[in-house]
């Protein structure tokens, strides 16, 4: 019961965080008067992917809480660890590619760093999907 309440609280916290990020994103976009060019729309799409991932996590937690089951266990924690390790390696290559293309892409440094941070989040999400649903063994 205690575990269940904790699950619901944690899921609510993630949901509130995801919604506040979404609202801030829209607010920032409207206030800045930015246009949806290729770079802008790519970053927006990536942000929505990250938010979708957060929503999936919330639904999984709420589903587990509803069935009176833990939201995390040894297998899911193992998947998170493996996803983080894979994402770390892939992110290194992404940053190397960014460094290589830095002079060739006409983007501000802050935009490039922002894209890198979002890229890391997307890589982590994709890595988690791979380890959860595509990989055959979870050992």
């Amino acid at each position: 019961m205690q575990q269940n309440r904790w699950n619901i609280r944690k899921a609510t916290f993630i949901a509130v965080l995801a919604v506040s990020v979404l609202v801030t994103m829209i607010f920032w976009f409207v206030r800045s008067g930015a246009t949806l060019d290729f770079a802008g729309s790519s970053i927006m799409i990536i942000q929505f992917v990250v938010l979708a991932f957060a929503i999936i996590v919330v639904f999984r937690r709420l589903k587990s809480a509803k069935q009176n089951l833990p939201a995390e266990d040894e297998m899911s924690k193992g998947i998170l660890r493996k996803s983080a390790a894979t994402a770390y390696y892939v992110s290194l290559y992404m940053w190397l590619a960014f460094m290589f293309f830095e002079d060739r892409i006409e983007l501000e440094r802050s935009t490039l760093i922002g894209a890198g941070i979002l890229g890391m989040a997307v890589i982590y999400a994709l890595s988690w999907i791979y380890h959860s649903y595509i990989r055959k063994s979870h050992d």
Binding site: Q67, L69, D73, E74, M75, S76, K136, S137, H138, D139
Partner: protein
């Protein structure tokens, strides 16, 4: 490593959710265990064997190869 979890669950009339609740894991973990796609920790193997009143060796079958 193979296991007899599905067979023992059927014997004791337990659903995957029931077993998951008894051993404190997510239902997906039981699904992957039954499919042989996940090897449990020693503690989880022990807990599962306890639910069926058996020893670990009677539930989990080790293949030397």
């Amino acid at each position: 490593m193979t296991n007899r979890i599905r067979e023992l669950r059927a014997r004791d009339n337990l659903t995957q959710s029931d077993l998951a609740r008894k051993v404190g894991v997510r239902r997906e973990t039981i699904v992957f265990l039954e499919k042989g796609k996940y090897n449990p920790s020693l503690k989880l193997a022990y807990d599962i064997a306890q639910v069926f009143n058996l020893t670990i060796e009677e539930v989990f079958l080790f293949d030397p190869e």
